[in-house]
């Protein structure tokens, strides 16, 4: 097994001054290089907070986050966050959006162009390189965001429900896309999702979180061969297991929001 790259040690995050409340409690996660980890958790449990902690936009109240043996304390191009709603720049073309990922790199325009062409091709948008983004579909926009992230050559990709805004067809398409890109680039990815199926399709490891404050409820190692069809009996067995675990969590929190259980249903 390859080397450990990202490690969360007893990470907790509290919000609010006087009425302090915990958003995340005692999270321990350890990813090895090239691992694709999915974080599965009910709405509002603290998944976004978790990613923003790793990205360095927030500081843990207690605990440490370690990347390549160094504790992180600020945002950096070694950890790129990808948003549900893409967050592209409408005043830039597809090409300019992508090389924006190299703003800090100090590369020459020619070097940037070579890299941009490579990633444009990887996400299948070469033909659209001179387009502005507003006319493109959601799936295309997210592929631009992925290319902008990859071009800066991060150690870890942090994806916050990246396909949640897409229709189910392009969602499936994007999962397959991401899987290919991941196999090609061997990036380490933390992928946050609501969808059990999405997690099982993509993950090496699934971290199932409890409802707020987020704690790790259970860890699943998924070793099914890829690509993973959802009608496969082993696939469905894992999905059932996770559903059961969530139902248990729901029973434990009987008073806690009926909504949470529904949220787990796949789209």
């Amino acid at each position: 097994m390859s080397k450990e790259i990202l490690k969360l040690e007893n990470v907790s995050k509290n919000f609010g001054g006087k009425n302090e409340f915990p958003a995340i409690k005692n999270i321990n996660i350890s990813l090895h290089n090239g691992e694709l980890a999915c974080v599965l958790g009910p709405s509002g449990c603290g998944k976004t907070v978790l990613l923003r902690l790793v990205a360095g936009f927030l500081k843990p109240t207690t605990g440490r986050i370690i990347l390549d043996d160094k504790e992180i304390n600020k945002p950096g191009t070694d950890r790129i966050l990808i948003f549900q709603d893409y967050i592209l720049f409408p005043w830039m073309t597809v090409y300019s959006n992508i090389i924006f990922g190299l703003e800090k790199s100090g590369l020459s325009l020619r070097q940037k162009k070579v890299l941009a062409d490579k990633y444009l091709k990887m996400v299948g948008l070469t033909k659209f390189k001179n387009w502005y983004t507003h006319n493109l579909s959601g799936g295309m926009k997210q592929r631009i965001a992925i290319a902008r992230a990859l071009i800066s050559n991060p150690r870890v990709l942090l994806m916050d429900e990246p396909f949640a805004a897409l229709d189910s067809q392009s969602r499936k398409h994007m999962r397959a896309n991401l899987e290919k890109i991941w196999q090609k680039t061997k990036k380490t990815i933390v992928f946050v999702t609501h969808s059990i199926n999405e997690a099982i399709v993509l993950a090496d490891t699934i971290y199932l979180l409890s409802s707020s404050p987020a704690r790790i409820k259970k860890i699943y190692k998924i070793s099914l061969p890829r690509p993973r069809p959802q009608y496969d009996s082993k696939f469905m067995k894992i999905a059932k297991d996770i559903e059961k675990e969530i139902a248990k969590e729901f029973k434990n929190n009987f008073n806690h929001d009926f909504k949470n259980n529904l949220i787990f249903k796949d789209i």
Binding site: A55, P75, L81, I87, P90, W91, G101, E103, T133, H134
Partner: protein, 255 residues
């Protein structure tokens, strides 16, 4: 097609009413003709003034009175607006001061400025500066504060420094409001210009022309000047600013 025609007809209707009233007053001689020239005479005067170049000369003079100062004010409103927009201490310092100044019409500063700079072009420039700057600054501040927070996160994530973030993300992100600020600022400057030129006649321009024509009871010249002011205003609105917006905001799908 029909709604379009309707829009045009309705749009011109009030102009037509004014013209009819004007004719009526003129033909019935309710207002003596030496005071109120007819629409025909006025149109002839207007065309003559265009042909012999005197209106153009006046216009160029007015441009000289407005543009250097207008451009400088755009520059400073942009810089100060960005700083006030991104920094809460700057906001605390500047906003009370700005809102106090904002209540004073720009022409009210004229006597004070004349005291120091006399009846000169510099005096007009200062009035123009105050006039357009005060309109623009609020748009720039609002635009900067309204910039999508997640754009800023992307910039931080990609390790842009402050300056790069301002140039590459904040200013383009605030451009819709900045452009509308520049447009409103120009309108404000253009109005103040005519007023200032009437008082600081030594600086010449359309304002002076209208003012002087009034002393000579040249109604036709006064109206010609006013038409010119309106035409140039519309020209900037519809051509210059519209073109800038089409080249930017329309293209990016922001409006």
């Amino acid at each position: 097609m029909v709604p379009k025609i309707k829009e045009i007809v309705l749009g011109w209707s009030l102009f037509l009413v004014v013209l009819i009233v004007w004719y009526t007053l003129n033909i019935t001689q309710i207002v003596p003709t030496w005071l109120l020239s007819s629409p025909n005479e006025t149109l002839n005067t207007f065309l003559k003034l265009i042909k012999n170049g005197s209106l153009i000369k006046l216009l160029l003079n007015s441009f000289l009175n407005i543009f250097p100062s207008f451009f400088v004010s755009v520059f400073f409103a942009l810089i100060l607006g960005v700083f006030v927009g991104i920094n809460s201490n700057f906001r605390k310092i500047f906003l009370p001061f700005l809102s106090a100044i904002n209540l004073v019409p720009s022409l009210a500063w004229l006597p004070l400025i004349i005291l120091f700079f006399g009846f000169t072009r510099q005096t007009i420039w200062i009035v123009i500066f105050i006039s357009s700057f005060m309109r623009m600054i609020y748009s720039v501040i609002g635009g900067v504060q309204g910039v999508n927070r997640n754009w800023l996160l992307v910039a931080r994530n990609l390790e842009l420094n402050k300056f790069q973030t301002i140039m590459k993300v904040i200013i383009p992100g605030a451009l819709p409001q900045i452009l509308s600020g520049i447009r409103v600022g120009f309108g404000s400057a253009w109005r103040s210009l005519i007023g200032a030129e009437m008082l600081v006649v030594t600086a010449g321009g359309l304002g002076k022309y209208i003012w002087m024509s009034q002393w000579a009871f040249r109604f036709d010249q006064v109206i010609s000047g006013i038409i010119m002011i309106a035409l140039v205003g519309i020209l900037f609105e519809q051509l210059v600013f519209r073109k800038i917006e089409q080249a930017t905001l329309f293209k990016w799908g922001l409006i």
